[in-house]
Amino acid sequence: MSLLYIARRFGVLLVIIWLAATLNFFLPRLSGDDPVRNKLLEQASLGGYAQAGIEDMVKVYQKQFGLDRPLYEQYLTYIENVAHGDLNYSIANYPRTVVAMIGEALPWTIGLLGLTTVISFALGTFLGALLAWPGAPRWLQWVMPPLWALHAIPFFLLGLVLMWLLAFQAQILPIFGGYSPGAKPGWTPGFILDVLRHAVLPSLSIILVSVGGWALAMRGMMVTTMGEDYVTFAEAKGLRSLSIFTRYCMRNAILPQTTALALALGQILSGAVLVEVIFGYPGLGALLFQAIQENDFFLIQGIVFTVIVGLGFATFLLDILYPWLDPRISYRRG
């Protein structure tokens, strides 16, 4: 693997981070609203004060927040703060910083997304590979069509149905939250079991929807790979069909799948945000929903920035892994 390749990918990562920060800075300013004046006018109308001194107060506050300086200076300060990991204070929960609130929610989202993405990717890829194989078991023919149909609907819609079926009607799983109210968070077996039980429904709604897509793509790749000459040659050599299946077909067909995984991460995350909202799962999605409800602008910006940077890192890692998975890539430029 060449150093140039890694450097190039890292450059893309830096561009993504810079774009996310810049977007965060300029988009809100496009609307032309003055947050300080709005807030003061809002408070003045609530308290019934006269509005005489407000313009002076606006000036003082703007000086304090640096809003009176030229735009490019504000932008540079902002970029510098972001680079130091300072994402400002939460407006609705004032003394708390955005970074602290995100730090609390992040493990939940990483856990949920990591688990469901790995499971659905592995399961879908395996099912898709089996499906293209002539010796596949009969029951697959009955399992796949429903999974393909599910693939067309958003995660959270299935979430609603599962919630009603398993939590409301059957009452075998908890309906809401990341752990039972009143439970003491800690590394005790009881609490871990509780967390797992709460994770079942959100995970199921993501996994059941994604599996079909991975299976569909993998089946297509398998059909192409099985037509290759080296597979015919392996059959002619008299290799066991199991080793042809795993070492010759799956090994080669899985490569485009992993490329697709990097591209799909963003979509999976967008969908998972809504699943968290529906189930009140205490991750970034639910925090984002809360921030939108409370009009907590800095928190919204912070979450969006964190997620974009996080996904950028994940894509970067996958990009670095490709040449290791597929030696052909390292000879290719770009």
Binding site: V12, V15, I16, L19, A20, L23, N24, L27, P28, L30, S31, D33, A149, H151, A152, I153, P154, F156, L157, L160, V161, M163, W164, F168, I175, F176, R219, G220, V223, A262, L263, L265, G266, Q267, L269, S270, G271, V273, L274, V277, I278, L288, F289, I292, Q293, F297, I300, Q301, I303, V304, V307, I308, L311, G312, T315
Partner: protein, 279 residues
């Protein structure tokens, strides 16, 4: 035609589902009083009955009227955003893939980077920045602002393979200009593929708009499908056992997504005949 439809089951299923939906919208628009889709117009929280076949919600909307008024709105968001997306995407893709060079590098770079970013979150920032109450059309434009990324990428790769064919070479030797080749030679050959891309991007635009609406960033006044689900979630309708409230929007959205999905698969099969063997 009928024989082809029997062979291309996906296309038929898609058309039947969307046909049913169209029938529901037309018959509904002619027979149902859509003014009952506003809050406080009928008794609240009635389960389905003869008077209110789909039941009513907590704020006193007749859910049948909401579905009749809201389905076209949601579809409109999807179609406006989808058309913009494929239109802009096609122009960029043809320019990039036909002329290559630095134009291609820039367009491909922007599309590739843009696609790694989770679209919903960028849309959230845009929607929050606008702050004012959104209308359905503004909503569509917000969604359209990112809807061109995917079409650009996929159409570009199709054009790249097409431009190396013999007939393009001959057209170039005949002295046709770049735009002439794009519109007269390349575009007609990709029409079925463009149609499939259009349906797929309408579907993902609807997905994005429903997502924004469920988060509470939609047109609050409009009874779209996504806003209905927002109220369902807001009032915890599932825990409270008001099953009819979410059943109606759920079924309509299911029909929309499944219909568009099967239509895309069917159109893909027309665009790419090699798929027929695998199916």
């Amino acid at each position: 035609m009928r024989r082809y439809l029997r062979r291309n089951t996906s296309l038929m299923v898609g058309l039947v589902l969307l046909g049913l939906l169209a029938l529901f919208m037309i018959v509904g628009a002619l027979t149902v009083d859509t003014s009952n889709a506003q809050a406080l117009s009928v008794p609240a929280l009635q389960p389905p009955s003869w008077d209110y076949p789909f039941g009513t919600d907590r704020q006193g909307r007749d859910l049948l009227a909401v579905m009749v008024a809201g389905t076209p709105l949601t579809l409109r968001i999807g179609f406006i955003a989808g058309f913009f997306g494929v239109g802009i995407g096609a122009v960029l893709a043809f320019t990039a893939a036909y002329y290559r060079g630095w134009v291609d590098t820039v367009i491909r770079g922007v599309a590739d980077i843009g696609l790694t970013v989770p679209g919903l979150l960028v849309l959230i920032i845009i929607a929050v920045s606008i702050k004012s109450l959104l209308t359905v059309n503004e909503m569509a434009l917000i969604v359209a602002s990112l809807a061109w990324l995917n079409p650009t990428r996929t159409i570009r790769s199709q054009v790249l393979t097409l431009r190396e064919r013999g007939f393009v070479e001959i057209a170039r030797l005949n002295g046709l200009s770049g735009p002439e080749i794009i519109f007269q030679e390349l575009m007609p050959n990709l029409l079925p593929y463009l149609a499939a891309t259009l349906v797929a991007s309408v579907s993902s635009a609807i997905l994005a708009s429903v997502g924004l609406e469920v988060l509470g960033l939609g047109p609050v006044e409009a009874p779209t499908l996504g806003m209905t689900l927002y109220w369902v979630n807001f009032n915890a309708a599932i825990i409270n056992g008001w099953w009819w409230w979410w059943l109606a929007p759920l079924v309509v959205i299911l029909v929309v997504f499944l219909g568009l999905f099967f239509l895309t698969v069917g159109l893909d099969e027309i665009a790419n005949p090699r798929l027929r063997r695998a199916a």
